[in-house]
């Protein structure tokens, strides 16, 4: 795809502003009705999906140039996909999330990428990882764990730790706990260690398509060599990349998030949770596990018109609108923990508010990223939760950092941590 391929959509965007709000049927209050962090923070139309369609059209037609403001408009999109869900309440022939990704790709390809993002890419090229730690230490988090170590050993089931867990000590206990739970349930897993590459998902969302492709091919090659049939990850970004972005490149491995595996193991009796965790918690749906965590359905086709002017596709085009994301598994797991009460925030499941860490925003616009996280924390507090639980290390870090920056208190957990407490 190229940005030009979205020219028809730029004209067909109804300029209705549904993209600025959660699905209206789900609005429960004034306070938590907005969905798009960037237009909520910066306020100009330009920072919404409808505005980005207009900005992209203006650029394509040569009516404006790539100013500093235009770069900000493009790169403050977290690609959280909330606009995409709301748009598709009424529309079947627009893809606003796809369009803004193409806008970012184009800006990067034209040399208008952000310095903060380029630094990440440079780190990857120099054998570093996004967290600025040497790649050779990538498997250290699993030292002492009973895991297979491809390529010397074959591993049908692979645990992909991801960049956060590989290099950040605060996230490593969760990764270790995940592996220990899987082992306790009798699941034999391997890790790639220093053969594991960044999934590339975050670079993709920053506009670095080529870098993403390089990393994806590296991972797919390593999986093939190790005989991997199933990849399990605790990272929502990794999950989305493997589930949605790798299949068009030829990947055929089964992709599971840890919460899906835990849900299955608990239901089938492979894991029994006995210890009470007396706590009221709320669950934050990571964008890339929830609304963007839908199964990938291949499609190649063309637009056609029926009934004169109804725009449809030949063959029928699969619809990704957040309907079939991973929402129930994490909630099932939480509900199976003795003593734990799960309460829901107003914005939940496919219309969840983003944590603020996505799309390279955390790296380039930290103040905005922190504000976005703080909005979610306020929502969690408003629903009476003592703790905010998620299933993505990037979300959890952004919440913790926002709390620290603002001097606020709230417990942040990964689901795996709570299951480990309850086992």
């Amino acid at each position: 795809m190229a940005l030009e391929d979205f020219a028809a959509e730029m004209d067909r965007c109804s300029q209705c502003s549904y993209c600025k709000w959660i699905p209206f049927d789900q609005v429960k209050s004034w306070r938590f009705a907005k969905n798009c962090p960037s237009v909520s923070y910066f306020n100009f139309n330009s920072y919404s999906a409808r505005g980005r369609y207009a900005v992209a059209r203006s650029l394509l037609r040569g009516e404006s140039e790539c100013s500093e403001t235009v770069r900000k408009i493009a790169f403050t999109c977290m690609t959280c996909g909330s606009c995409d869900v709301s748009c598709k309440i009424c529309r079947y022939n627009l893809e606003p999330l796809g369009m803004v990704r193409e806008l970012k790709f184009k800006l990067v390809e034209d040399g208008h990428g952000l310095e903060a993002h380029r630094a990440l890419v440079a780190a990857l090229h120099s054998e570093q990882e996004p967290s600025d730690r040497p790649r050779r230490s990538r498997g250290d988090w699993a030292d002492g764990l009973d895991v297979l170590r491809p390529p010397t050993e074959k591993a049908e089931v692979l645990f992909h730790a991801g960049c956060r867990a590989s290099f950040n000590k605060d996230a490593q206990p969760t990764a270790r706990a995940a592996v220990q739970l899987l082992r306790k349930a009798g699941v034999e897993v391997g890790i790639l260690g220093d053969e594991e590459s960044c999934c590339g998902g975050r670079l993709y969302s920053m506009g670095f398509r080529d870098e993403f492709l390089r990393l994806a091919r590296s991972n797919m090659a390593a999986w093939a060599e190790a005989g991997v049939k199933t990849v399990i990850t605790s990272c929502a970004d990794g999950y989305h990349a493997f589930k949605h972005l790798y299949p068009p490149l030829g990947s055929q491995v089964e992709v599971l998030h840890t919460v899906e595996v835990l849900d299955r193991l608990i239901r089938e009796g492979g894991l029994t949770l006995r210890s009470a965790v007396p706590m009221t918690v709320t669950y934050h749906d990571p964008c890339h596990l929830g609304r963007q965590g839908e199964p990938y359905v291949p499609w190649k086709g063309v637009e056609k018109k029926i009934k004169g002017q109804i725009v449809v596709y030949e063959p029928k085009r699969p619809r990704h609108n957040g309907a079939w994301g991973v929402y129930d598994s994490p909630r099932n797991v939480l509900r199976s923990i003795p003593g734990l009460e799960l309460v829901e925030m107003e914005r939940t499941r496919e219309y969840s508010w983003c944590c603020g860490a996505g799309g390279g925003v955390r790296e380039a616009y930290p103040e905005f990223s922190e504000w976005t996280a703080s909005e979610r924390i306020a929502e969690a507090k408003a629903c009476g939760a003592q703790a905010l639980v998620s299933a993505c290390p990037w979300c959890e870090r952004n919440f913790r950092d926002a709390l620290a920056a603002r001097g606020e208190g709230m417990q942040i957990f990964d689901i795996v941590d709570l299951v480990a407490k309850a086992i």
Binding site: R12, S14, V311
Partner: protein, 550 residues
């Protein structure tokens, strides 16, 4: 135009550097495509409203006043818009400052006892309704949907919607108002003007509602309305709508004191008789001829798609082949949707009995297939929240209304079939969606006049397809011609032609004068001219506040 740097700096001092922009790309996100839908004068392919001189996001009434005073000082035109529904919210003249009222979005008060809310421009229908429901009240939502500004629909347009039956047209609901006049002075109308609170639009205090709104609403052309109070209505449902289902097929279970039906009638006369009887009997909470916006031939198939999250428009042709769908489509030709809400168990029993009698007397029937629980619960949520209103645009991205017959039920029903047949013949040419001709959507039983109805024949087209937009415009011209020949008057497809021309800019004065002079009461526009001279001496608005010089 590039604003003189001194003026830009002065504006920046008022709103802060983060709330002003003259970046060309930002300005282009505040232009409206007339190929999309111009409500109601086009469409015109590849034509946009003019690029503004700058966009500002004021945060307070004081900031708005300061901006307007500066505009007067430098003779710069300005245009305020809250939620940007349709071309009316955008500048129609070059070198205009666009005020985006989004930051002024607070619900300042919900007076439960006196049943009104005080809102700023950026408050949308969905959020006001959600907050009102918590205290047993509801807001009347405009037909443009709950994404739209409540203040704008009360001050700047006429605000018709499914709750007309119970909540009136929104202009009826406007109470006290805070108004930054085009000179920058602050004016408070109704009881607010006498420091008596917001409860009344007329007094004690200056009764300026008519002057402020003008013909069909001020449409951002006469200063900036910065706060207003609107009436709220009883809500006998839950404090929060319990929503079930998979996106986008959300639905809400019917409370025990609610009934929701799609009904149909053997003739248009029977349809009109039922509308009168509903009005006279005083039953009903929401009523709209809603599904027909997809078209007589497509509506049931579309309802099937919209209530099934696995379906898309790509399934439409196959669904239309289903004999059951064809039977229901035929059965529900002359239909509308209605929601009854009882304030007490006895009330709903009585309303239901009365409604059954109305159906019996008129020969109407409940359309069984459309009243299946999943469809009914979806319809209930749809009509209460109006959160799927932009299904108007589902087919190709654009629609506009043709004809727009407003009047008592008999008036519309007398002409509905002829207008539908006329459209059907045009549909065969291919420029607009072939929907069955009859796409006459609108409310049943607005207050006043024995229950007015509005018949807007939805015409869907593709804004990216020049043949489609050109063909649609030809059709609209033909509608206007037919309306004049048949004595229906100019339809809503041209309602704003006097204010905005085909190039997206203000219609030349000679043309505006010609249109106003040919109207039934030119004096109304002369009166508005006097008002504009008094309140807007530097003429810094646009022609949406319609005037005619002596």
């Amino acid at each position: 135009m590039t604003l003189p740097s001194r003026v830009y700096r002065d504006l920046e001092d008022i709103v802060g550097p983060e709330n002003i922009s003259d970046d060309p790309a930002v300005l282009d996100s505040y232009r409206y495509s007339l190929a999309h839908t111009a409500i109601h004068l086009g469409p015109y392919y590849d034509t946009f409203t003019p690029r503004g001189a700058a966009v500002l996001l004021p945060g307070t009434t004081q900031e708005v006043q300061a901006i307007v005073q500066l505009c007067n000082q430098h003779r710069i035109k300005f245009k305020a818009s809250s939620t940007f529904w349709s071309a009316q919210g955008y500048p129609s003249e070059d070198d205009t400052l666009q005020l985006d009222m989004r930051r002024m979005d607070r619900i300042l008060e919900i007076d439960e006892k006196n049943m009104f809310a005080v809102v700023e421009p950026g408050v949308i229908g969905a959020t006001l309704q959600a907050e009102a429901m918590k205290v047993g009240l509801n807001a009347h939502l405009p037909g443009s949907g709950c994404s739209c500004s409540i203040l704008a629909t009360a001050t700047s347009y006429f605000g018709s919607g499914p709750s007309n039956l119970y909540g009136g047209w929104q202009y009826d609901n406007l109470l006290g108002m805070e108004w930054v006049l085009p000179t920058g002075d602050l004016f408070r109308t109704g009881s607010l003007g006498s420091n008596c609170g917001w409860f009344c639009g007329e007094g004690p205090g200056p009764s300026m509602k008519g002057a402020a709104r003008g013909f069909l609403g001020a449409k951002g052309a006469m200063g900036v309305h910065t706060k207003c109070a609107v009436k709220l209505f009883a809500w006998p449902g839950p404090q929060t709508l319990p929503v079930e289902g998979i996106v986008p097929a959300y639905r809400t279970p019917l409370p025990r004191n609610f009934r929701a039906y799609t009904v149909a009638f053997p003739t248009w006369k029977a349809w009109a008789d039922a509308a009168y009887l509903i009005w006279e009997t005083g039953i009903g909470y929401l009523a709209h001829r809603q599904y027909v916006m997809f078209g007589r031939d497509l509506k049931f198939a579309m309802v099937k798609i919209l209530t099934d999250p696995t379906k898309t428009l790509g399934d439409l042709e196959e669904i239309l082949e289903d004999p059951q769908v064809q039977r229901v489509t035929e059965e529900s030709k002359r239909d509308f949707q209605i929601v009854l809400a009882g304030m007490t168990p006895r009330d709903i029993e009585w309303q239901e009995a009365a409604f059954d009698q109305i159906l019996a007397r008129t020969g109407g029937w409940k359309v069984e297939a459309m009243n299946e629980p999943e469809i009914n619960q979806w319809m209930l949520l749809y009509l209460i929240r109006l959160g799927h209103k932009n299904l108007n645009l589902v087919f190709g991205g654009s629609y506009d209304g043709a004809f727009g017959l407003v009047g008592v039920p008999d008036y519309g029903t007398s002409h509905a079939e002829e207008a539908a047949e006329f459209k059907k013949t045009w549909e065969q040419r291919g420029a607009v969606v072939q929907a069955g001709g009859d796409c006459m959507m609108g409310p049943i039983g607005g207050m006043g006049g024995g229950g007015t109805c509005l018949w807007e024949n939805f015409t869907c087209f593709d804004p990216h397809d020049r043949e489609s937009t050109d063909g649609t415009r030809e059709f609209f011209d033909a509608c206007t011609q037919l309306g004049l020949e048949r004595g229906w008057g100019v339809g809503m497809e041209k309602w704003n032609a006097q204010a905005r021309g085909p190039d997206g800019r203000t219609t030349p004065k000679t043309e505006r004068d010609r249109i106003h002079l040919s109207s039934p009461q030119p004096a109304a526009f002369r009166y508005q001219h006097k008002i504009r001279e008094a309140l807007n001496p530097n003429n810094l608005g646009d022609a949406y506040y319609e005037t005619l010089e002596d």
